[in-house]
Symmetry: C2
Subunit: 195 residues, 2 copies
């Protein structure tokens, strides 16, 4: 069962828990699933669950720190001559490039669960607000003043989330980065038309 010279415990405990959680949430809903039951399906216990995730909700949003960081660093890494919107575009490239197909596969299921659970939508709104705040700070670091920095950061988050949502739909052939770039262009056009 533990092929070769593996450790004492099955590896990938956190991932097993996350999969069990997503499965159960899809089957019985978020509120109808207890942490005990998630741990049980993963062959573990409640205590171990909370050792791997700070809370029941976080099990679905785990592993986004890397994406968050790449997004923010993409702003800082943009050439110094870039305008705010060009920096946002560069950050979108940096953020979309490393996204894997596996994440696309989970995206649809995850979106369905989140959409049907106010508590999770709340968590998502907060994560996006936090990301936007960090992006705005990175833009201010480049000398962009408020409220332009906050606005540009909001455009970035909006373009990415919209693009990811479309990318997860079947029949979408384009690259995530391509969609994100187009979303940003459309936002820019709508913004210009607002006056």
């Amino acid at each position: 069962m533990w092929g070769g010279a593996m450790g004492r415990w099955e590896p990938g405990t956190g991932e097993r828990l996350a999969r069990a959680a997503l499965d159960l949430f899809a089957e019985q809903g978020y509120g109808g699933t207890t942490v005990d039951r998630i741990a049980e399906r993963a062959g573990l216990t409640k205590t171990t669950f909370f050792r791997h995730f700070p809370g029941k909700r976080e099990v679905l949003f785990a592993g986004q720190e890397a994406h968050h960081r790449r997004f923010v660093e993409g702003i800082a890494a943009a050439p110094a001559t870039a305008t705010p919107l060009e920096a946002v575009g560069a950050a979108l490239d940096a953020a979309t490039a490393p996204v894997t197909r596996a994440q696309r596969a989970m995206g649809a299921r995850l979106e369905a669960v989140v959409a049907s659970t106010p508590e999770l939508r709340e968590r998502q709104a907060f994560k996006r607000a936090a990301l936007a705040a960090d992006l705005a700070a990175a833009l201010r670091e480049r000398g962009v003043l408020d409220p332009a920095a906050s606005l540009a950061a909001d455009l970035a988050v909006r373009a990415f989330t919209g693009a990811f949502s479309r990318w997860c739909r079947r029949g979408e052939a384009r690259t995530l980065g391509e969609i994100a770039r187009q979303e940003l262009r459309e936002l820019q056009i709508a913004m210009a038309a607002l006056e």
Copy 2:
């Protein structure tokens, strides 16, 4: 109706609970305050607390439904010839006019508590997202297409929250509505400068 011989229970139960909660949150922090203690200070019990508020967090955000509604209706009530941004301006007027001095007095204390409690900031982010979504829907009702509707709605929420925050600071002599209008203008300028 309650004159002379008052009723069996002290009136304003919900308000007493809300005041007790805000006091205790300011004294001991949000996480360090139990619902039992809030109810105790109000001379009531936990059960009664949950009869008046759907949750511990909601005690601070109670009474915002009316503001939310006026804001959204302000969009619909704008003249049919108004541009999206003009409709947003009209909605800001409709939303800011009925705000009382009492709400200003609580604003500062409330802001401090919310700022120091991630759980409450999360709730606030969600409420703002929900408001923005409703405003965007009202704009779409007027024929504004996405993503322009969402962007304009975001500007509205941003202008209001920024204005309210400034309005709560001491030494601020202007009207809430005036500040909101100026915030909107500044956002408009920053938006135009983004390209």
